[in-house]
Amino acid sequence: MTAILSTRGLRKDFVTAKPLFGEATVVQAVAGVSLDIAAGETFAIVGESGCGKSTLARLLLRLIDPTAGEVWYKGEDLASLPPARLRALRRDLQFIFQDPFSSLNPQMSVGALIEEPMRVHSIGTRTERRAKVADLLTRVGLRPEHADRYPHEFSGGQRQRIGIARALASGPTVLIGDEPVSALDVSIQAQVVNLLEDLKDDFGLTLVIIAHDLAVIRHMADRVAVMYLGEVVECAPAGDLYAHPLHPYAEALLAAIPVASYGARPARTMVEGDPPNPIAPPPGCKFHPRCPYATDICRVERPVLADMGGGRTVACHRATELSLQGLADLEQARTPAARGRFALYAQAMADKTAHNRPE
């Protein structure tokens, strides 16, 4: 594997201001993460709220400075790069935000918003940039004349398309999306997921996707990193992870997702309790207070990520002896007539999009 983006021992501590009484608190939002993201793959980061996904994403682009550790992009350590060189590299590394509305300046027209990254990086002449804006708008499923309108005139899904067009404007190689489809309704989410996948193929992008929706991740990702309280506890090819998780927390996540197949779900045990306070994470394995398999060693010694072969790594003392449950085949059973209707629908949609395709 040729890694395009790698981290080594990456850490970010947030220190809160000292309150009137007591001590200032430190949150280890990212607590020593080492990852290799391959060129051209879709790499996903999953985990529950507060586990450090957004912080990690921001560190990957050095939108924030790490407390410790390295971020390597094509042989350069972003963490120690001088500002000018970093600015130049930003052209290659672009970000898509969860909430397109709050990330787009409402005073700027859509055209100006998409053109901005090209201006910042002095790409093309004014005319060339305008042509590129029109091209990008078409590419993300909007129309060139939308360039003169303002973000508030668009729906959530359309604004996300604008955000994507803007991220593409500087011709990046890596696109990092922090929950890029989480705020969207299912039908709109599907449109944007398809768009991201098409763009990835057409522009040869590497995609890093952060999400908490495990179905979206399963659909999009080649490989997945599962985070718990600032650490990667398991990293594996998506299919392997879902079929046979190796970390108890990964098993717990898969058991917890509601599956949209009526009558398909076998009974399962669920993890109890809340995630622990990130300010005072438990000793030993951070998951041990909730882990159904925890033993004495788990309570005192922190497990480290170990190579399990097959491109999988896991941080659990008991990984080799446990046999954990993944998601078996949970396809919805349907009547033959219903299967026929789904086929009709898919065909009708394909015909309709073939009709409407520009060019």
Binding site: V193, R218, Y262, L344
Partner: protein, 334 residues
Amino acid sequence: MTATALLELEGLTIALKGVDQPIVDNVGFTLARGETLCIVGESGCGKSLTSLALMGLLQTPPLTVTRGMARFAGEDLLAMPAARLRQIRGGRMAMIFQEPMTSLNPGLRIGEQIAESVRRHKGVGQAEARARALEMLRRVRIPAPEKRLDEYPHQLSGGMRQRAMIAMALANDPELLIADEPTTALDVTIQAQILKLMKSLQQETGAAMVLITHDLGVVAEMADKVAVMYGGRIIETGTAEQVFTDPQHPYTIGLMSSMPSLGARSGRLVTVPGTVPQPTAMPPGCRFSTRCPFATGACATVPPLTDLGAGHRVACAHAPLTATEAPAMRSTGT
């Protein structure tokens, strides 16, 4: 079924000031004791307005109930005086919202709030109400309930606040529970715990539940019956088994096709094109017609919710859809 119905909603229609077409149009369903109905649909389809109307909590103006009847244990919720509705609300009919702080008072200890509601609806004394509050916190499995009783909402985690709200909602043994996206803001492991809790409490008490969600996964886990809404109307309804194994409405099919599967990867997602029209720009006839791949001239008339058998009802001019019944397809030449 009808003989034992606890709630019968009929023809609920809600108007929004300045909008010609009703924003919720002719919505109805029946619910028996112990049953769970899931109302599912995308943002803005009228799920919350429907539940708010049942509880008499619509913001009026700009909203008005222009038509409809909601028979709850013999009385019409939509027609009764506000004072009577207040008696029922929080007592025989309770609700849970997405955001626990819409029902919890930040300035009151958890125990006091639950006890207050018990005193008001059950007319019991201080000590008994507090004992009930403790019992409820224990039943929703909040750890160290004696201690939590005297804590304020902000001292609890999000999942625990949601449990506290459920404890309060269930403290007076409601016959009907209305839950509007009760787990949407929670992490999946906490969501799974709360859904399991709601299910087991419901089995213990025999309460009926209207559960509003946009997540078909939650529907598959929880529902006995399903109502799929689009643009303010129910477009398909039936048992969970009917709707999941034999969906009929093109929107239901489109919604299910849009969901990425958890199984092996299967190429591009089949989507629903376009977006939901604004309330001011709803097409006449079937409101899905602007996005439907099967739409024809027949769809310009409002399709009635028609029983296709065994209570599985669908509002589509072309239902049940077959290859010969799909005129738009024939014209594009398959």
